[in-house]
Amino acid sequence: MTIGERNRFRFPVWGVVFSLLLALPLLFFLLRLMERQTADFFYVLFRPKTIQLVFNTLSLILAVLILCTVLAVPIAYLIGRRDFRGSRWVTALLPLPLSIPGYVIAWSLLSMSGESGIIKDLFGFSLPSLRGLVGAALAMSFYCFPILAINMYQGFRELDPRLEEAAKTLGKSRGERFWQITLPQLWPSMLSGWILIAIYVLSDFGVPALMGFEVLASAIYTEIITSYFQDGAFALTLLSMTMTLILLVAFHTGPHRPQRRLARAADLARPYSIGNNTAWFIVFFSLAPVFATPLVSLGYWLGQPSTWETFGTYNYLVPALFGTLQFALPGTILGSLLALAVGLISRYLKGWIHELPGRVLLLLYSLPGTALALCWAVFYLQLFRPLYQSATGYVIALGYLSASLSLGPVRTALHAQSETWTDSARTLGKSPREIFVRIVWPGIKPGVVSGFLLSLGWIIRELPLAVLLTPLGARTLSLAVFGYTVEANYAGAAPYVFMQMALGLSLGLLSSLRRTRDAA
C-alpha cells in the first residue's frame, strides 16, 4: 500500500482544544480523585451508609420506573394506536409536565399532604405525609413520565400492522400475537425510555432533598455542607458518576428501534377508534393528578390572605426574578456560543475527534447536578479560587449546562445546511468568515434562537448548581422555592413558584410559536 509523501496528518486542533476545555471540571475532579487513593477513601466508599444510599437510589429508580410505566403506557397506547375526539390535544399537552421542575411538584405534594395539608383543609380528611420514598417517587414520576410516554407513543405509531395481520392469518391467538409480535417491537422504545428516566432519577437533587429521602445526588450535597470537599463527597460523586456512565453506555449500545425505511402512510399503524368516554376516562385518571397537583396547590396558596401577609413582609420576588435572569441570561448566551462552536466543529471538520466536544457536553448534562457542582467547585478551588461561589463562576457552569441543551437544535440547523453551499462559496473565493456571515449564519439563526429559548427555560429552573455555586446570599427563584419548602413554609414559596411557572410557560410558548412560524 502506497501512502503519498504529502498525505499530511493534520492535528485536530479544534476538536482537542474544545474537548479539553469542556471536560476541564471533570478532569480536575479526576485529578483530585487520584490523590485520594487512601484507606480512608475506600472506607468511605464501602461503608454501610454508602451502601444504604446506593440501595435507596436503586429503590427510587425502581419505584419511579414502575409509576412512570403505569402513567405512560395507557396514554401512549391511546394516542398512538387509538383514535378519539381530542386525542390531538392530549398529544400536544403530554410534554407539558416536563416544563414544571420536579422540586415544584415536590413542594406541591408536600403542601397537600399531611395533617396540616391542603387536602385536610379543603376536604376534611388528610393524606398521609408524602415524605420519603413514596413522595419522592411520585414527584419524580409526575415530572418525567412524558419521557417514557413520548418514546412509547413513537413505538406504538411505528408498529407495523401488517406483522400483526400476518400473525392473525397464521391463526395466532390474541395473547400469542401480543407476546411474540407486538411486545418485541415495542421493547426498544420502552427500554430507551426507562434508561433515560433512570438517568434523570439519578441526577435529580431537588426532589429527594425536599422529600427527605436521601439518595446519592442529595447526599453529595449534605456531605459538602457538613464536611466540605472531603472523602465523603468525592466517594459519592464517583459512585453516582459511574452509575450514570453505565446507563449512558447501556443507552447507546442497547436495543434500538429498528431504523425503519420511510413508511408510507398506508404502512403506519392505523389508529382505530375507541369510545370517547373510555378514552377520556383513562386520560383523566392518568393525567389529572399530574396536572392538578401543582395547579391546585398554587391556586390554594395564592388564594390565602396569609400568603400575602408573609409575602408583604419578606418580599423579594423582584430581586429573585432579577437574580435568576442575571445568572440565566449570560449563562444561556455563553451556552449558545459554546453550542455554536461545538456544532460548527463537528459539522465542518472531519475526523471522529471533532465529535468529541459534543459527547463531552452530553456527558456533563447527564451527570447528577450535585456531582457536576462538586466538579466545578473542585476546579475553581484548585485553579481560580475567586470563581468559587461567585457570579462569574456560576454563570460559566450554567453556560456549559446550557450548551448541552442548545446543542440539539443548533446541530439540527447546521445539518440542514448543505455542504454544497459552503464548498461553492469557497470556490467563489470567499473566506470561511465571509461564508459564515453570509451563508451559514442566516440559515442556522432560527435554530440557534430556538436552542437559546429552550435552554433558557431550563436554566431558570436550575437548582443544584445554584445551591452550591452561587455567591452567598444570592437570590434566585429556584433558591427561594427550595429554601421556603425546606422550611416547610409552603405559602412563602407560592409566589416564587408562580413566577417560575409563568416564566417557564411563556418561554415554552414563545419557542413553540417560533417553531410554527419557521415551519410555515
Binding site: 500500500m1 502506497t2 501512502i3 503519498g4 509523501e5 504529502r6 498525505n7 499530511r8 448543505s418 454544497t420 453551499w421 464548498d423 461553492s424 462559496a425 469557497r426 470556490t427 467563489l428 473565493g429 470567499k430 473566506s431 470561511p432 453570509r438 451563508i439 442566516p442 440559515g443
Partner: protein
C-alpha cells in the same frame, strides 16, 4: 491559463476499505478549451474535481496553473470555480445577489451583474430565490455565478445530469456558446458519452481513478487504444486476430488494419464501419430497425458481429451474407488486456 496535472493520487477509507479514487492521473488543459472527463459513476471524477479545486488534498502529485504549482493554495485563493450537480445556489439570496456577491471580490470585474444575467438570459429572473427557479434555471444560475468570480479554470461536476433530456440539450448548447464568449477554460465531468462527444475540445475517458485515453472526441471514437474506451464511446466489435504487417487474419478472412503489427492482436471495428454483401460467411440472426439506421446481428461459427447499416440494405434474418470493411480495423494496444 494552462492547467497541468501530474501523477495525481488520492485514496480514502470508506467503511474500513481503502478506495483509490484517483490513480496516477495526469492531464493538460489548454487555455480557453473545454475538456470533458467521461467515466462511469464512481470512477473518481468528482474526487478529481475536488482535488483540483482544493476542497480535498491529494496524497501525491502536482497541480499547476501556467507552470506555477497551486497545490498548497486554499480553495478560496486558488481561483478555480466549481459548479456542482445541483442545488448549490444559496437559499437565502436572490439570483442577482448571488452573482453580485461572487463578483464583489473583484476590483475591476470583467462583466457586470447585468451583463452576466443578460448573457445567461436570466435578466427577468434576477429577483428570484433559488426555490422559485426551475432545475435548469438553477444550474444556469450556478454557472453564471461561478463565471462572475472570474475563475482561471471552471470545473463542472455533472452539471446537467439531473435535468431532463430536451432541457439538457438546450442548456448544453447555451453553455458552450457562453464559454466561447467568455473564453473560459473549463473541465466538465459527465457519465453521458453523447454529452462528452458533443461538447469537448478534449475528451478524457476515466475509469477506476485512471485516465485511459485523452484526445479529441473524433480521435477517441475512431482510434481507441483499448476496449474500455471503445465500448464507452459507442458500440464496438472486438475481434481476436493474427497480424502480419498491414493485414490481420481473422476467422472469416484477412482484414486491413490501421497500423502495422505482428502476432496476436485484438481489433476494434465500429458497427457502422461494415458493409453487408450477398454471400455465404455469416448468418443473419437478428435485425432491428432503429429509425436512422438498421442494426444487424451476424454469426459465423463462434464469432458474433454487430453491424449498423442504413435502411436501404434489404436482407432478412436467416439469410447468409458477407461483410466488407469501409475502413481499416483499429488495432488495440496490448496493455488493455
Amino acid at each position: 491559463m494552462q492547467l497541468d496535472i501530474k501523477d495525481l493520487n488520492k485514496s480514502f477509507w470508506s467503511h474500513g476499505q481503502r478506495v483509490d479514487a484517483v490513480r496516477h492521473f495526469s492531464l493538460r488543459v489548454a487555455s480557453g478549451s473545454l475538456t470533458i472527463i467521461l467515466g462511469p459513476s464512481g470512477c473518481g471524477k468528482s474526487t478529481l474535481l475536488r482535488l483540483i479545486a482544493g476542497l480535498d488534498t491529494p496524497d501525491s502529485g502536482t497541480i499547476s496553473l501556467d507552470d506555477r504549482p497551486i497545490d498548497r493554495i486554499p480553495p478560496e485563493k486558488r481561483g478555480i470555480g466549481l459548479v456542482f450537480q445541483e442545488d448549490s445556489l444559496f437559499p437565502n439570496m436572490t439570483l442577482e445577489d448571488q452573482i453580485r456577491w461572487a463578483l464583489s471580490n473583484k476590483t475591476k470585474p470583467r462583466f457586470s451583474v447585468e451583463q452576466l444575467l443578460d448573457m445567461g438570459g436570466m435578466t427577468a429572473l434576477r429577483r428570484r430565490y433559488p426555490h422559485q427557479l426551475s432545475g435548469g434555471e438553477r444550474q444556469r444560475g450556478a454557472i453564471l455565478r461561478s463565471l462572475a468570480a472570474e475563475p482561471k479554470v471552471l470545473l463542472l461536476d455533472e452539471p446537467f445530469s439531473r435535468l431532463d433530456a430536451p432541457l439538457r440539450d438546450a442548456l448544453r448548447r447555451e453553455v458552450r456558446s457562453l464559454f466561447r464568449t467568455t473564453q473560459t477554460t473549463a473541465i466538465l465531468v459527465t457519465h453521458d458519452q453523447e454529452e462528452g462527444m458533443a461538447l469537448a475540445d478534449q475528451l478524457v475517458v476515466m475509469e477506476s481513478g485512471r485516465s485511459l485515453q485523452a484526445g479529441t472526441p473524433q480521435s477517441l471514437y475512431a482510434f481507441p487504444t483499448n476496449a474500455l474506451v471503445a465500448g464507452f464511446l459507442g458500440r464496438a466489435n472486438i475481434i481476436v486476430a493474427q497480424a502480419e504487417g498491414l493485414f490481420a487474419q481473422t476467422v472469416f478472412g484477412p482484414l486491413p488494419i490501421h497500423r502495422p503489427a505482428q502476432g496476436p492482436v485484438r481489433l476494434m471495428i465500429r458497427p457502422e464501419h461494415f458493409e453487408l454483401l450477398k454471400g455465404e460467411q455469416f448468418l443473419i440472426t437478428d435485425k432491428e430497425f432503429r429509425g436512422h439506421d438498421v442494426s444487424w446481428r451476424l454469426i459465423s461459427g463462434e464469432l458474433e458481429v454487430l453491424v449498423h447499416t442504413d435502411w436501404e440494405q434489404d436482407f432478412r434474418p436467416g439469410q447468409r451474407v458477407d461483410i466488407r470493411l469501409r475502413r481499416p480495423a483499429v488495432v488495440l494496444e496490448e496493455s488493455s488486456g
